[in-house]
Amino acid sequence: MLKKRLIPKLLLKPMQFGSLTKLVLVTTVGFDKTINAGDPVSQAKIYEAQAADELIFINIDSENASHEKVIQILNKISEEIFMPITIGGGINSLNLIREYLKNGADKIAVNTYSFNNPDFIKEASDVFGAQCIVCSIDYKIEDSEAIVYINNGKTKTNKTLLVWAKECESLGAGELLITNIDHDGSHLGLDLAELKNVCNEVKIPVIASGGCGVAKHFIEGFEAGADAVSAGTYFCFKDQNPIQTRSHIANANIPIRLHQ
């Protein structure tokens, strides 16, 4: 029996320290305002000690942050952390995926490039297996329709969440990571209505993200059908940690791994 998963999401952004550019951990509100949250490697170690189920790293400024810098971080992390790692942000070639996998990633989150080039999902899934490809989908509710946005929430598309989610599945995605941009960093809870819709329409696992502020929000997400719930702000700034959140979830009779 599979356990439901709690997945801290670590957003990376380049920051200038004198003449040095360093990738730092940030959290975001509505994909816009970023708040510096520290060093990604040490934070990842804390999450591992708290028995998070997986980690997702997204390079949210892939235009300005070189993949080499992300790989350096990934390399350091995989020396000491023995849990599944997903990497995303600016993924636009099979070679890049190969590089990340070689350096310790298990899964790759794709978004903007694969939206513009859907065949890329199929190619990547054929080469690396469906289990390796996570389609990350960001959306906003507009006139009661869930509209997909790309370019880190900057560019509106003409597709609805449900249409694109089903397309991703048929192209060979292994999992979906769905985020309501307006819930991001809001502490208001997940967008349960859209989450339910997507879970009903696809057969692959769905990771829900955006808006978790209290343990109850995770429980609601699992009850709506999510296989995993991912959160950034929640784990970064509250005195909440995965161990406490886990106990709350277990108390609601949701199957979850308890700290060993």
Binding site: M1, E80, F82, K102, I204, P205
Partner: protein, 206 residues
């Protein structure tokens, strides 16, 4: 020294890091003629069955593995697809012959209810039989799985662990010096590290 077989697929670094973290030496083996230098072998794997077997064959690993593992009885641990290719036949993409170390076929996991999603991704309670590879681990440990295909074994005695996902599926197999696990020990935190340690420290000649 543990040899981690590199045939161009799989997260080799994580496996190597896990072995080294445990305090043992490991090397990535890219040439089949080096296999005999290692005491034990690990066969990782990510991707599709036919690609895996083709890559192993192209790099000369298939014949060398048959000699080292079947004739010289060198211990080997297959992980995920690395376990699946130990089967007689694989049915992913197309019907393909495997290494034929287990009388088994690799098939797509079939489930009857929507709540059981495929790929089978995440931490799952694993029902383990008494076997040295699980020594020192609680009776129903959680391991990390990520796969859509499963190894359907004809000899029940080859199966040393199962996982339930609507039905029971093979989670680990063993036959003397040959061990395979569907889950990823290198990604399963403490329990996974114990499995790796049990494989590395076991005296297979005793």
């Amino acid at each position: 020294m543990i040899g981690i077989i590199d045939y161009g697929m799989g997260n080799l670094l994580s496996v190597k890091n896990a072995v080294e973290y445990l305090g043992f030496d490991a090397e990535i083996v890219s040439h089949s003629n080096e296999l005999h230098n290692f005491e034990k072998l690990i066969l990782p794997g990510v991707g599709a069955f036919p690609d895996c077997i083709n890559n192993l064959a192209t790099k000369g690993f298939v014949s060398e593995l048959q000699r080292e593992v079947m004739e010289n009885k060198k211990p080997i641990l297959g992980i995920c697809l690395g376990m699946q290719v130990m089967a007689r036949i694989g049915n992913e993409v197309r019907r393909t012959e495997g290494l034929n170390w287990f009388d088994a076929e690799v098939e797509l996991m079939k489930v009857s209810k929507k709540e059981f999603r495929i790929p089978h991704v995440g931490w799952a309670e694993t029902f383990v039989k008494k076997h040295f590879i699980f020594e020192g681990i609680k009776s129903v440990p959680e391991f990390y799985f990520v796969h859509s295909f499963h190894m359907n074994c004809n000899n029940p005695e080859d199966v040393i662990a199962t996982v339930n996902h609507d039905k029971d599926f093979t989670a680990a197999v063993a036959n003397n010096n040959i061990i395979g696990c569907q889950f990823h020990p290198e990604k399963s935190q403490e329990f996974g590290l114990v499995v790796l340690k049990n494989f590395i420290t076991r005296n297979f000649n005793a």
